[in-house]
Structures are given as C-alpha cells and as structure tokens.
C-alpha cells in the first residue's frame, strides 16, 4: 500500500477508535459490569423486563414510520425543488432547512394548539373540537410525523447532492423511449438516486431512534414508551445500578442500529453503480400547468412545518407570561431585553454553541473526506462493520453518550494529566463522536457514484492519494461534503441532550440554556432565545450565500 495511504489509514483508525469505538465499548462494559450469572444482574433485568421489549418495538415502529415520512417529504421536496423549473427555488430550499432549527417541542405544541380546543383559527371558523377531546397527535403516529418532519431535511440534502450530479443524457434517452415523466421518475431517477435516498433514510432512522424530545412530548402523555424515554425513566429512578441498566438499554438501540445498517448495506449493494462520464449537463424538468398547484402545495407544507411553529414560537416570546393572548396590550419585548441585555449567559451560550457547531462541522468535514475515501477502498463487509460502529454514537440517546464520556473522561487523561472534564473540550469531543456519521453518510454515498476513471486519470498525472483527494475527489463530492457539514452545524447549534450532562459553568450551550429556562418555568425567555437562534441561523445561512459564487457549484443548497 502507498505510504500516504498507510499513514492516513492508521491515523483515521485511531480517530474512529477514540471517537466511536471507545464510548460504545465503555457503555458495553458498563452494561455488563454487574453481571453475575444470577438472574438479577442489571443486564438480565433489562432483558427480562417486558417494557424493554415493548419500548424496542415502539422505537422500531415510530422510527420506521418517521423515516418513511421523512423520505416522502424530503424526496418530494428534493425532486421538485432540484429538478423542476419551480419559481423561487432558493427560497424554498432555504425555508426547508429551517424546521430543523425549531425545537420539536415547539412544533408539537403549536400543532396541538392549532388543532386543539383553544385554536384561534378553528375557533374563528367555529369548528374547534370540544374541550378535552382526544388529540390525535398524542400517539405513535403523531410521534412518527414529527420525527419525519425533523429529519426530512436530512433526506432532502442527501438526495439533492445526488440529483445535481445526474447526467442529463440518461433522461433524454428515456424521453426518446417515449417514457412519460412519471415513468422517468420511477424507472430512471429513483433507481439512480436510490443510494442517496437510502443514505438519507438511514440517517433519518438513526436520528429518530435516538430522539428523546419528541416521544417525551407526545409519547409520555399517551403512555407510549420508546427506548429513549424508557432510558430516561431509568435515570429518573433511584436504583443504584441505574447506569448499567441505561447502558444495557442503549445497547438495545445499538442492536437496532446494526440491524438497520445491515438492511442499508443490503439495499445499497444492489444500487451501487458509478455514473460513467460525468460530463453531461445536469437536468431540469419543465412543469407547465402543474407548476402553480405544486407551488401552492409546497407553500402549504411549509406553512405546517415552518410557518405555524415559528409563528407560535414568536408569539410565545412576545407575551409576558405563558398562555396569555398576544394583543396590543400584552405585546412586550421584555424577554428579548432580558436575554440580550442582562444575562451574560446568553451571549456566552451563543458563543459556545456557535464555536462548537462551527468547529465540529469543520473538523468532521475534514475527517470525513479521507475517511470516506478509505472506507470506499475497503471490502464491502469491513466497510459495513466500520460504518455501523460509527453510527452507534449518533443513535444512542445523547444523554447516554454523555454518560459514556463522563465515564471515560471524568478522571484526568493518563500521562498528560490534563482534565477535559468540565471544559468545552469534552462537549466538542462528544459532538465529534456523535455527528461523525451524519457528516460521513452523504459523502460516502456521493463517493460511491464517482466514475473511478476520474481518479485514475489523476493517478496517471502522478498525484499521490492526498493530492487526489484535494484536487479531484473533494471538488466532485463537494455538495455532499458541505451538506454533511451543514447537517452537523444545524444539529449541533441547538443540541441539548449531549451537552445537558457535559456542560459546566461558563460552558453553557444554547440547548442547555433553552432547556434550563424552560424547565424552571421561564418558557417565555426560552422562546425568545429560540427565536434568536432561528434568526442567527437564518442570518448565517444568508451570509453563506454571499460566498456561493466562490465555492464549487452546488455547494450552497439554497443558492441558484
């Protein structure tokens, strides 16, 4: 093997080992720690308990259904916005990225209000349900719906990177075969994008599996437990072997992930084909009379997933107290003044979160390029195993990952005697571990579709592996690569569950700040911060557009 490649492999192996393997292994050790051969060891308790299996089943159901919804939403959106001559494409994309930034609780609450007995709209129309009538959102399907909406952008971005690199002549050939537009979607586009869709779906599935906020909001009232809420129950208990049980439950999630990854590998095996050539123009469909209806449909969907919750969020940040109606008398910016003006913690949290999000995105982007490259050169099976290992930290609930990090880093590091615990550093490491798969997935799927001849040509030119990576692979997979970075940034900017255990005074994150305020009853302040976060992210995204002309084509999704 080339020496550059060898060093690269060794370096990346060490990295994966520390970031992904170590926390997972530490949890496994914890899960098995009190294991005796009696029937009362914590792991046995977990396995014996009926509730574990119920939760497992529920988790599988909600995540599966959520993934399906995410795929439908993300693909529908992706196809329409990327491939057609729809107007205002940039704005649609921009808006579609934002639901990820609104805390799911807010979305859920805003829907509950919209369709509940107190709904302003339904009340005006006189069709509001009676007080106390059952809410369909409090159900497995409600959970799945919200999970789907939350992870739809993941599918969308993964798909989009693929769509913009599809050569046009493949569709022209299908048009010549007199295939209708519908058939072209089904026979040509979908199969060609399958690898990307699967990658996006896998991401959506894994992120749904580990999601705590949505099932907590909608599942607990309905008495519907999933693995993350069950884990939280264990934590809230007083048992002394709580850690082992929690670790044990997390291992169940890891098992689910492995099963999911096997499925993914199996599916992708049959959809791995490099595109030949790459030199053709990218394609675009004319919509004709369907354009307006489609635009209206998109607008409606966006109303539900973005406008309504955002509106609710803004309203709840402008009133003096929770539940008060917003009108000229009650309108107040006090919450904003309070958060911006007085609390130093706000700016600190913004700084910390922005720092963490930016550098996690940056580092992971830098890592996933060579990592993806090396993985692509491994045999199928080895690749599947490593990819699953990387997936585990993202799938287990953030709070459990945080436990693993405490277990690993509470003591000062050996030899150098530096303690990471209690610094931003540990949160940073945990983010890297958690989001590695998020960044890597789209990159892997993009790399698998590259025509190998392009790299071979660079080999002939005498370029060593690292140079090839930079000169050829990077620009060609740049959209995927930036999509990965964008995911990481968006997810980590208001990440809560990992940092909830790892933060310390001075190292607050936005997620923690919002959560703490909310929990101590200051939900108006919390809403104000959430609004500020959305504004911040929207601002940063617009700022990025300014750089778009200097970046490779297709890198900024909401540009051009």
């Amino acid at each position: 093997m080339d020496s550059q490649l060898r060093w690269l492999s060794i370096g990346l192996f060490v990295l994966i080992a520390t970031l992904s393997l170590l926390p997972s292994l530490r949890l496994l050790v914890e899960a098995l720690s009190h294991t005796t051969f009696s029937t009362s060891s914590p792991m046995a308790e977990v396995l014996k308990s009926e509730r574990t299996w119920t939760a497992l089943r529920h988790s599988f159901y909600t995540s599966g259904l959520g993934t399906l919804i995410a795929v439908i939403l993300g693909c529908g959106f992706g196809f329409v916005v990327t491939l057609t001559n729809i107007r205002g494409r940039a704005i649609w994309v921009f808006c579609f990225m934002l639901p990820m930034m609104i805390p799911p609780q807010v979305t859920a609450l805003s829907w509950l209000q919209l369709f509940g007995p107190a709904s302003p709209i339904l009340n005006t129309l006189g069709i509001a349900p009676a007080l106390g009538s059952p809410q369909p959102m409090y159900s497995a399907e409600g959970i799945a719906l919200l999970l789907g909406i939350q992870s739809a952008p993941l599918v969308f971005l993964a798909l989009r990177t693929q769509l913009i690199s599809l050569p046009q002549d493949l569709f022209e050939a299908a048009q010549l075969s007199r295939a209708s537009q519908f058939r072209i979607w089904v026979d040509i586009i979908l199969p060609l994008c399958r690898s990307a869709i699967i990658a996006g779906a896998a991401l959506a599935f894994v992120s749904s599996l580990g999601n705590f906020g949505i099932p907590a909001m909608l599942g607990i009232p309905a008495g519907y437990i999933v693995l993350p809420t069950l884990i939280y129950q264990q934590m809230a208990g007083f048992g002394h072997d709580m850690l082992s049980q929690v670790a044990g439950l997390s291992m169940m999630i890891a098992l689910l992930v492995l099963a999911g990854m096997l499925l993914q590998q199996w599916l992708q095996q049959r959809s791995r084909y490099a595109l030949l050539g790459h030199t053709a123009q990218s394609l675009s469909f004319r919509l004709k009379q369907w354009r307006l209806p489609l635009e209206i449909l998109l607008a409606l969907v966006l109303c539900f997933i973005l406008v309504a919750p955002l509106f609710a969020l803004i309203v709840s940040s402008l009133v003096p107290a929770l539940g008060m109606p917003l009108n000229a008398d009650t309108l107040t910016f006090a919450a904003f003044y309070e958060m911006i003006g007085r609390q130093g913690v706000t700016s600190r949290a913004f700084e910390n979160s922005a720092f963490l999000a930016f550098f996690s995105a940056l580092v992971l982007m830098l890592v996933s390029l060579p990592l993806g490259y090396l993985l692509m050169r491994l045999p199928m099976r080895t690749r599947a195993v490593i990819a699953s290992l990387i997936e585990v930290p993202y799938a287990i609930p953030g709070i459990v990952l945080a436990i693993a990090f405490i277990l690993l880093f509470a003591k000062p590091l050996p030899f150098i005697e530096v303690s990471l615990y209690g610094t931003l550093g540990i949160i940073f490491l945990a983010y890297l571990s958690c989001f590695l798969s998020v960044c890597l997935k789209p990159v892997l799927s993009a790399m698998s579709q590259l025509d190998p001849a392009l790299e071979e040509a660079a080999q002939l030119a005498g370029a060593r592996p690292i140079q090839r990576l930079i000169d050829i692979i990077l620009p060609l997979t740049a959209p995927a690569f930036f999509a990965g970075g964008l995911f990481v940034f968006l997810i980590s900017i208001n990440e809560l569950t990992v940092s909830a255990l790892l933060w310390s005074a001075g190292n607050e994150t936005l997620g923690v700040l919002i959560f703490n305020l909310d929990e101590s009853g200051d939900s108006v302040l919390a809403s104000a911060i959430a609004v500020l976060v959305v504004l911040l992210v929207a601002g940063l995204m617009s700022l990025l557009s300014l750089f778009a002309p200097r970046l490779p084509k297709g890198v900024i999704p909401w540009h051009g």
């Binding site: 046009q168 002549d169 493949l170 050939a173 299908a174 007199r178 058939r183 050539g277």
Partner: protein, 347 residues
C-alpha cells in the same frame, strides 16, 4: 412517414452561435448523413431534432407539424424519434437486457414479444452472452453496441445516430452498416446519421450534408460530393486528394490530364490562379517522360493494401499519391495526372 424540414435553424449557446441558418429538406424515408469537422455542430443539430434543445431561431417541421420554433416546442416523448447518443447514455442501474428492452416496456409490448425483440437486437449486435451484465462491466465497444441495440428495438419515425460506430472494429462496422441498411429498408424510417468516417457516410447515405462551423457547405448525393466538391475547403475535407494551385481556369468543371499539365506549367505566382482537386488514384507513376511532373518523396506511410506517398513538386506544392511499393524519402519520381476538378475559391 413525413418530410422533415429544417428551416433557417439557428442555435447559440450563451450568445455564441453554433448552428447558423441551416436549411435542409429531408424526404420521408431518406438516409441522410451529416459530415463535418469536430465541433461543427452535428450533435447539436441532432439534439435539436430530438427536442433536447430549443432552437434559437428558425423552425423544424415534420410533415404538417411544427416541432420546434421560437414559440413552440413539442417534447421529445411526443416525437417518436430514436437516437444513439455519442455518449451512449446507458442507464447504469439496468442490465444490458433491461437497457435494450426499456423502450418496449414503456410501450407496453407483451413480454413474449418483448423478449423476442430484445434477443433479436442483441443477436444483431453480437451481445447475447452479455444480456445480464451491467453497463459498467462492458468494454467501450460493447457499450456502444448496447446503445445501438436499444435504438433498433422500436420502430421510430426518425432515427438519429451520433457516431454510432466510433468504437467498433472494422468488421463489426461492416456488419452494423448492413444492419442499418436492413433496418432502413424494413421500417422505412428517416435516418439522420452523424459520422466522421466518410466511407461510412458515403456507403450508407442517400444524401450528405457537409457542415463547417455551423454552416451548411454542400448538400447532395455522395457521388456528387466526391466528384464535384464546391470549394477548396470541401475538396480538402471530402475524400483524399491534393488541391493544386494552377493557372486560371473556369470553376466547376473537369480538366483533362493534358490540359492540367499545361495549366500547371503556365502557373506562376504573379498571375491569376485557380485551384483544382487531384485525387490520388488519378496520379500514375511513369518512367521518365518529357511532359510528366517530377516530385520528391516527402513521406511514405504504410496503410496495409498500399502506401500513401506524399510528393513535393518543384514549386513546393504537395501531391498525394498511392503506390504498391514503398519509396525512399527524398527520391525523385515522375508522375502523370489523369484528371482534375476545378474549384470555386473558398468564400
């Protein structure tokens, strides 16, 4: 079957004109070849015919329908055209069989009939054993043949070929040419054929359009083009031969050998001159002879059946001749020219 008319068709990319005011009338069922140097706009014309590109000006008419104009654009799937792409455009996720059978599947041909036609088409392109391969597992020529087979399974009104044989060896080409002829005879489809291989164009086409820089240079039967090229550019482009500068002579006529030798002798740089085309097969090596031309061998290239000999005449002009035997570089030889065709000067 209907007549295909290109009426003043224009195309520009980002303002740069690529096809300029092209007028062609292609009779129903005609086999037309487009010839021209690389980058002259051949593929672009095919793409406009197929409906992948809008026309920037003019219109394309098929029978009574206007297919493309600045205001109208019939989408490809409603045109019933077939095409072989220069880039093949095989679907990487389908096997050879699926690629070939897709047009039939779309047209809902019954399975038995479909399989039969797929098999026949694969038989013709000699790829039967490869039916279950993916395109990525094929050689370049095999991919091209799959693309060919795909275009031949259905019965379109117009078939467009974009250098369909570029990656095939000579024997396969001959077989394919036969196939095209048979297909043409059977379906009566109008065929538009782009190639850079003139002998292919000459042997297949009823009519040839020669293009240069997006403009039509000449439009006629192969024999016409070969025997009576209009200007020097075309004379240089079609067939092999040498364009000689000689004393002034009326354009567009044959010049006999005796007259030609006289014209060459009369030619001097300060007098009005004409160009004539001399084909290499009209040049005969002779023994020393008063009236013959003397040339020294500038290059001698083996081409299998014979050698290409390039001679430098006394006044520095070059002459291409054939010889059955190799000749040493620089040696002097006498030649007689049988006949020549006088050309318009290039506009």
């Amino acid at each position: 079957m209907a007549r295909l008319i290109l009426d003043g068709v224009e195309k520009s990319f980002h303002g740069a004109p690529v096809v300029k005011g092209l007028n062609l009338t292609i009779e129903p069922g005609e086999f037309v070849a487009l010839l021209g140097p690389s980058g002259c706009g051949k593929s672009t014309i095919l793409r406009m015919l197929a409906g992948f590109e809008n026309v920037s000006g003019g219109q394309i008419i098929h029978g009574d329908d206007c297919l493309s104009s600045s205001t109208r654009h019939v989408p490809t799937e409603e045109r019933n055209f077939g095409m072989v792409f220069q880039s093949y455009a095989l679907w990487p996720h389908m096997t050879v069989k699926e690629n070939v059978g897709y047009p039939l599947k779309v047209q809902k041909t019954p399975t038995a009939e479909r399989n039969k036609r797929i098999n026949d088409a694969l038989d013709i392109v000699q790829l039967k054993e490869y039916a279950d391969r993916l395109p990525a597992q094929l050689s370049g020529g095999q991919r091209q043949r799959v693309a060919l087979a795909r275009s031949l399974v259905t019965e379109p009104d117009v078939v467009l070929f974009d250098e369909p044989l570029a990656n095939l060896d000579r024997h396969l080409r001959a077989t394919m040419e036969e196939t095209f002829r048979a297909f043409h005879k059977r379906t009566g489809a109008t065929m538009v054929y782009v190639t850079h291989d003139q002998s292919e164009a000459m042997s297949l086409a009823d009519k040839i359009a020669v293009l240069n820089k997006g403009q039509l240079v000449q439009w006629g039967t192969p024999q016409e083009l070969y025997a009576r090229p209009r200007n020097t550019w075309l004379a240089n482009f079609i067939g092999r031969g040498s364009v000689l500068s000689v004393a002034a002579v009326a354009p567009a006529q044959y010049v006999s050998g005796t007259n030609l030798h006289a014209l060459i002798r009369q030619h001097s740089p300060d007098k009005a001159a004409s160009s004539v085309l001399v084909r290499p097969q009209d040049i005969h090596f002779v023994n020393a002879d008063e009236s013959a031309l003397t040339g020294s061998v500038h290059s001698c290239i083996f081409r299998g059946e014979r050698y290409d000999i390039e001679l430098t005449l006394k006044d520095g002009q070059r002459l291409l001749a054939y010889s059955d035997v190799p000749m040493t570089l620089g040696s002097q030889h006498q030649v007689r020219l049988g006949q020549a065709w006088s050309l318009e000067s290039e506009s």
